[in-house]
């Protein structure tokens, strides 16, 4: 047990910080829901960052840290599935990936080359061809799309489906962890500047305690995620996804409450994180689904 980053991990995270620096702020003239980041995606591609998990010195744990770090950015780029799930697929399946669950609109489907199609307990893979997808308008801060006709799906074996579901859970938790971190930081900034009754909002204990609880929950999500990525255990993955979706439900509510009407505007960037989180809350069966999976895995020998 040693939580110190290796020199390779430190170097990678420093490089990611430098790469991310130009993308830290929302463009002031952007007032939409999903902020696309093609230049960010291209830089990640050029730097071969999507293959972090395949490098023995780095592995899935470092990939999870990278997913989390990049989710701090206000831009929506298909990173989590590529970094954490794509390594589990054969070479014939190309990134970007999209997740289409039970016929609902899927994140990044319009730009994906491969779709993971989830139907109940079954998972299949489909190549996404141009013209097969239509974009869907939504208030989620991801670009959403829907198949315009039933895709050709290659079914995964039960074993492969279970493995993919595990890594989907880890990717989900890593992305939520980063999004929560950024949303909390954005809210802290507001509470430190905004004054009411002659004081900064952040000096009121009623708000301070709620924010502190949010921070503790989000930190727990991060630790469970990193452990799951390191161990690749089914139970750890389910616990991480459960704690992520469970905590996020409460945290997102609190953060919007703290920002008041400002958090309802598209001028403030909060929704660029919270409305990505909201899109993730329903995935893979939602928190109820994760809880049942976690209980099955973790209490099997109880």
């Amino acid at each position: 047990m040693d939580f110190t980053l290796s020199s390779d991990q430190s170097a990678l995270m420093s490089a990611l910080d430098r790469l991310a620096a130009p993308f830290e702020q929302k463009p002031t003239d952007f007032h939409g829901f999903a902020l696309a980041g093609p230049r960010l995606e291209q830089e990640l591609e050029n730097g071969e960052y999507f293959g972090i998990a395949r490098i023995p010195e780095l592995g899935a744990l470092t990939a999870a840290m990278a997913v989390e770090r990049l989710a701090w950015l206000p831009y929506s780029v298909e990173i989590a599935l590529s970094m954490l799930v794509h390594p589990q697929l054969g070479d014939e399946w190309q990134r970007p990936l999209a997740l289409v669950e039970n016929g609902r609109p899927g994140r990044f489907l319009a730009t994906a080359r491969t779709a993971l199609v989830v139907d109940g307990d079954h998972i299949g893979l489909a190549r996404v061809a141009a013209g097969e997808v239509v974009p869907v308008d939504s208030i989620f801060a991801y670009p959403m799309g829907r198949f315009s006709r039933t895709p050709q799906v290659t079914a995964c074996s039960a074993t492969d489906a279970a493995k993919l579901r595990k890594w989907l859970r880890i990717a989900l938790a890593a992305e939520i962890s980063g999004l929560l971190h950024a949303a909390i930081a954005s809210t802290v900034e507001h509470l430190s500047l905004r004054k009411q009754f002659g004081r900064q909002l952040g000096t009121f204990q009623a708000l301070r305690h709620r924010m502190a609880e949010c921070a503790v929950l989000a930190g727990g999500v991060r630790w469970l995620t990193l452990k799951a990525a390191a161990t690749a255990e089914d139970g750890d993955a389910a616990l991480a996804a459960l704690h992520a979706q469970d905590s996020a439900t409460r945290i997102v509510y609190d953060l919007h409450q703290m920002l008041g009407a400002m958090g309802m505007t598209l001028e403030h960037p909060l929704h660029l994180w919270t409305y990505r989180v909201k899109a993730l809350l329903s995935e893979l069966g939602g928190r109820s689904g994760q809880a049942q999976a976690a209980a099955r895995y973790c209490f099997a020998g109880a």
Partner: protein, 378 residues
């Protein structure tokens, strides 16, 4: 970053578990109820002496004081295993975690020679005399006074909520030697000193756990002062930082949760709602565990403990609450005589956010020091 235990750590955990299997009596779980009771206090002295003989009481202490210079992980693995079975060391966990190390840092040669060997041998029980009727979270308001009287101090005042005081040999006492925050000092006071009266407070948390302690013209020699006059704040902060993550409450919470789930499974009563609720509680326990590991890892690397210790503490409070609530909702018979270990857990869980400093104080620290929110006006 590595989440795996190395071979030596795994071996140590196995050693501790084997010791527990061999030395805990068959009726241990019924003793676990009431950690400050006479039965448990007597048991803890016998058990801790056995632990000491096996080199498992204070392995992380310096060899000079009966330890073997083991690292922070060793101390924490030991604590996890002890708490997971209901803490058979009783109140002596405090000696091991923070009283001993605090005396090693701040004590005189005489104080160390007097007090540390009995701790290392598992033969002594201490209590912590901090809280007072008018000074709980606001310790700076304490009123117990220690006045210099020639070569002695004369102590007058009252402590409250003092755990283990009924059977303690010595009190780690906080008293005022001068006005203001800098006028507080620590004294090491034998509990059989004339003028000390202990009154047990009947409570939900078990027989003999909390007490009032009255000091009426209690005379102690000047050598009872720990450190210098006015150094209490520094000493107490140091002690509390050791205490804050010293108790792996999540280990007993997770163990209790597994036990409750197992009982429900056997009875065919683990419905979907209970199943989901148990998983949520387990996730909170594991989050608290990893938070605490982070703090242990900081200690292991000699890094100062920051506000993350408060986050670890609060994560543990959340986990205790969820695990405790699960038992109350789904296994209420455990609190009515069917499972003494689950009852013992419940009694410990309900004070998780109160003992060692109120959880709300931790939230304030997290807000100011971790989130960097502006501080409240005073």
């Amino acid at each position: 970053m590595d989440f795996q235990w190395d071979a030596a750590q795994q071996e140590f955990r196995t050693t501790v578990r084997t010791f527990l299997e061999q030395h805990l009596p068959a009726d241990w779980e019924s003793l676990a109820h009431g950690p400050g009771s006479e039965t448990q206090s007597t048991f803890s002295k016998r058990f801790c002496a056995q632990l000491a003989q096996a080199g498992l009481l204070v392995p992380h202490w310096p060899s000079r004081w009966g330890g073997r210079d083991a690292d922070a992980w060793t101390a924490f693995i030991l604590a996890e295993e002890m708490w997971a079975v209901g803490e058979p060391r009783g109140g002596q966990y405090m000696n091991v975690n923070w009283i001993g190390p605090t005396l090693m840092r701040f004590g005189t040669d005489e104080q160390q020679a007097t007090y540390i060997p009995p701790m290392a041998g598992g033969q002594t029980i201490w209590c912590q005399g901090f809280s007072e009727p008018e000074a709980g979270s606001d310790l700076a308001s304490l009123r117990t006074r220690a006045e210099r009287d020639g070569a002695a101090y004369r102590i007058n005042g009252q402590k409250i909520w003092t755990s283990y005081a009924g059977h303690a040999d010595t009190c780690f006492l906080l008293a005022r030697t001068a006005p203001g925050k800098t006028g507080m000092s620590i004294f090491l006071v034998p509990m059989d000193t004339p003028g000390i009266t202990v009154r047990q407070i009947p409570s939900i948390i078990g027989e003999g756990d909390i007490h009032e302690v009255f000091f009426d013209d209690v005379r102690v020699p000047a050598g009872a002062l720990l450190g210098a006059e006015g150094q209490a704040w520094e000493i107490a902060r140091n002690a509390l930082s050791l205490e804050r993550v010293g108790i792996p409450r999540f280990a007993l919470a997770a163990c209790s949760l597994r036990r409750a789930v197992s009982a429900l499974q056997r009875a065919g009563r683990l419905g979907q709602g209970a199943m989901e609720q148990s998983a949520r509680a387990l996730a909170a326990c594991e989050a608290a565990r990893l938070y605490s590991y982070h703090i242990v890892d900081q200690r292991q690397h000699g890094a100062p403990t920051g506000p993350e210790a408060s986050a670890a503490r609060y994560a543990t409070v959340m986990a205790e609450r969820l695990a405790g609530d699960f038992v109350v909702e789904h296994c209420p018979d455990a609190l009515a005589g069917s499972d003494p270990l689950l009852l013992a857990h419940h009694q410990r869980a309900i004070v998780a956010g109160i003992a060692s400093g109120a959880a709300e104080i931790q939230l304030n620290l997290i807000a100011s020091e971790l989130l960097r929110l502006p501080r409240e006006p005073r």
